[in-house]
């Protein structure tokens, strides 16, 4: 562990986290004892083949699920013994989720979609909510698409709205599950450019993917296999996604 890292804040700490699923008489061990710390400002990719436990792990990190055993401490708060409603509040204040299939509300404008998490935080007035949503949309480069409805946008734009929605509550950590999984190569790189920029601006990002190429653009790579960590390495040679995007063949006009 590098010297520089030690005095940085720990955002996420997993202590021997296990998660079993009962399927009939069988028990599926989706996570078989996972431990790691993630520090503020890291951009971590979690990789592994299908069924290796990536989504299960991310659900733990996102407080959507609780470990069968072990402890999970998010931003100093132990999560395992929390009630359902307490975890909901925790998600609302500390987590930003980006899903593979965007999950925007249909027939709803970009701003309204981004406002959604703040609707569940009574500290925000309608005005503050809108202002925060506009700011988040500007941060992902959609300042000119505020009132577009979800069905009037391309996949890349929808994913940007989803990222803005994940950022709007100023979360401790941004969690993305296969966030580029539904996008073409070019748009995927655009998304990586955006994530790298957010990383530079100080955001902590955990990016789950089954695509090993993406690992080159993050600061740390965790490799899962069979519910266990096989590899956890710092990436000292981070590739610049913007440069990679520029090298891609020019987009075809149709």
């Amino acid at each position: 562990m590098s010297e520089e890292k030690k005095d940085r804040k720990v955002v996420i700490e997993l202590q021997d986290v296990k998660r079993d699923f009962k399927v009939g008489d069988e028990t599926v061990h989706a996570l078989r004892g996972v431990s790691f710390k993630i520090y503020e400002g890291e951009f971590v990719t979690i990789m592994g083949t299908s069924g290796s436990g990536k989504s299960t792990l991310l659900n733990q990190l996102g407080c959507l699920d609780t470990p069968t055993s072990g402890e999970y401490i998010l931003d100093g708060v132990p999560v395992r013994r929390m009630k359902r409603s307490e975890r909901a509040v925790l998600r609302n204040r500390k987590i930003g989720f980006v899903f593979q299939n965007y999950n925007l509300l249909p027939k709803t404008t970009a701003v309204e979609n981004v406002e959604l998490p703040l609707m569940y935080n009574t500290k925000y007035s309608a005005k503050q909510r809108r202002a925060a949503a506009i700011k988040a949309l500007e941060a992902v480069g959609l300042g000119n698409r505020l009132d577009h409805k979800s069905n009037q946008m391309s996949g890349g734009q929808m994913q940007r709205v989803a990222i803005a929605r994940a950022l709007v509550n100023e979360p401790a950590v941004l969690l993305a599950d296969e966030a580029t999984g539904n996008l073409d190569t070019r748009t995927s790189f655009e998304m990586l450019v955006l994530f790298q920029r957010l990383h530079r601006e100080g955001h902590t990002i955990i990016f789950v993917t089954h695509n090993p190429d993406i690992a080159q653009y993050s600061s740390r790579n965790i490799m899962l296999r069979d519910g266990k960590i096989r590899e956890d390495v710092e990436n000292t040679n981070i590739r610049d996604a913007a440069a990679a995007l520029a090298e891609l063949p020019a987009p075809q006009d149709d």
Binding site: L64, R84, A88, R91, N92, N103, L116
Partner: protein, 406 residues
């Protein structure tokens, strides 16, 4: 989530699916409209019956032969022949609280003029009957005491008879001879029209003649079918009943232990009986309509359950960005309440329209305010009650499974 936000979200969801919402409201709309119209007609009829009865004079008392039959005892026919001319005369002489008195003998039959005829009822009365029932003689005059003494074959007729027999209700038939059950009567007066009463009876289809004439020449009986009395004032009605009872008991030579062989009803009492009857009918109708509201509530629940399933992904998303179970359940509860309240609102509108329509076709109808308030309360309750199960279903979803739902 704050209440304002909950409402905002619910309204948006409702507007996103207008046709479905309207369909699920339909039951409520019809149910509420039915309740409102039923209550309006019930209330309206009651009010107009009251008005009509009090127009006849709230100090009206009616003496009928026979003991009080409300106990349900069947009487032999002679018990119905207890009111005689002597009774009438005693009342006229002795009753100080009776302003007007008129004995009554009636008979129904055909009245003929030339080739035309019609069915009617002839009322044998004293001249004071005009004052008791507030009849106005429009043309000619009422028969006189002299006519009564001589059992003269004279009569006053209602407008319907004039129209039926002479082809024109404004025809002046004073002086004409008409025949009732082949007895010739000279028309001496024509009554001002009273129109139909609440039971749909044509009050103008009457002939009024001296009671002596009807008793001797038509009914051939020595007893009355009743005696109508006007008490001096409404307040004195009860005292007047006591006085009349005493007079009749004396005149019938009843002993202490004998029951009355006559019954005296006041208009007041009749009004109350009418009201209770109307209330019962109204309650039955309203209960029937209320059941349709129950069915409507089940309809809302059904649609809400479908809606919850359809929006599983949305529910998962909301939960993953921080909605608690109770935020989700409130969202769906409020949606159900808004649907049922809007349905209630449209139903009240429709009810008003229906009530207006009913009064246009002659049914007395007036929407009581409390029925509107009741409808809204019931609708809110229906929304809460039938929204509860779908809301709970939504709130109990697992966010991970919900967000993966396709």
């Amino acid at each position: 989530m704050s209440f304002a936000n909950l409402i905002r979200v619910a309204v948006k969801a409702i507007l996103n699916n207008k046709i479905r919402t309207l369909l699920s409201m339909l039951g409520i709309i019809i149910g509420v409209a039915a309740v409102i119209i039923m209550m309006a007609i019930g209330q309206g009829s009651k009010m107009s019956i009251r008005k009509e009865l009090s127009k006849m004079g709230t100090n009206l008392l009616s003496i009928r032969p026979g003991a009080d039959t409300r106990g349900g005892v069947r009487l032999d026919p002679s018990a119905m022949q207890t009111l005689k001319v002597a009774d009438y005369e005693s009342i006229k002489e002795e009753a100080t609280l009776a302003k007007y008195v008129s004995p009554e003998v009636t008979s129904s039959g055909q009245v003929i003029y030339g080739a035309k005829n019609t069915m009617t009822t002839i009322y044998g009365e004293a001249t004071e009957y005009m004052d008791i029932k507030l009849w106005v003689v429009e043309q000619g005059d009422c028969f006189t005491e002299e006519d009564i003494k001589k059992s003269a074959k004279v009569c006053v007729v209602g407008k319907t008879i004039v129209e039926e027999l002479f082809g024109d209700k404004d025809y002046n038939c004073v002086g004409k001879i008409i025949r009732f059950k082949s007895i010739p009567f000279r028309v001496v007066g024509i009554l001002k029209s009273k129109g139909y009463n609440n039971w749909g009876m044509d009050q103008d289809n009457v002939m009024i003649a001296p009671y002596t004439t009807v008793m001797k020449r038509i009914a051939a009986q020595t007893y009355f079918s009743g005696i109508n009395v006007s008490a001096v004032t409404e307040e004195k009605s009860d005292a007047c009943i006591e006085e009349l009872t005493a007079i009749l008991r004396k005149s019938h030579k009843l002993k202490e232990e004998n029951e009355n062989d006559f019954t005296i009803h006041s208009q007041q009492e009749m009004m109350e009986t009418m009201s209770t009857t109307m209330d019962t009918i109204t309650i039955i109708l309203v209960v029937a309509a209320a059941f349709s509201l129950l069915v409507a509530g089940i309809g809302i629940m059904n649609i809400m359950l479908v809606s919850v399933t359809e929006r599983t992904k949305e529910i998962g998303l909301r939960m993953s960005v921080g909605a608690r179970g109770r935020d989700i359940s409130r969202q769906f509860l409020i949606e159900a309440v808004i649907i049922s309240l809007s349905g209630g609102f449209l139903g009240v509108m429709l009810g008003y329209l229906g009530s207006y329509g009913a009064s246009k076709i002659g049914l007395p109808s007036s929407v009581p305010l409390w029925s509107v308030i009741l409808s809204f309360t019931v609708c809110a309750l229906i929304g809460l009650l039938f929204g509860y199960i779908p809301a709970r279903k939504a709130a109990r979803m697992d966010p991970i499974e919900a967000i993966r739902y396709e």
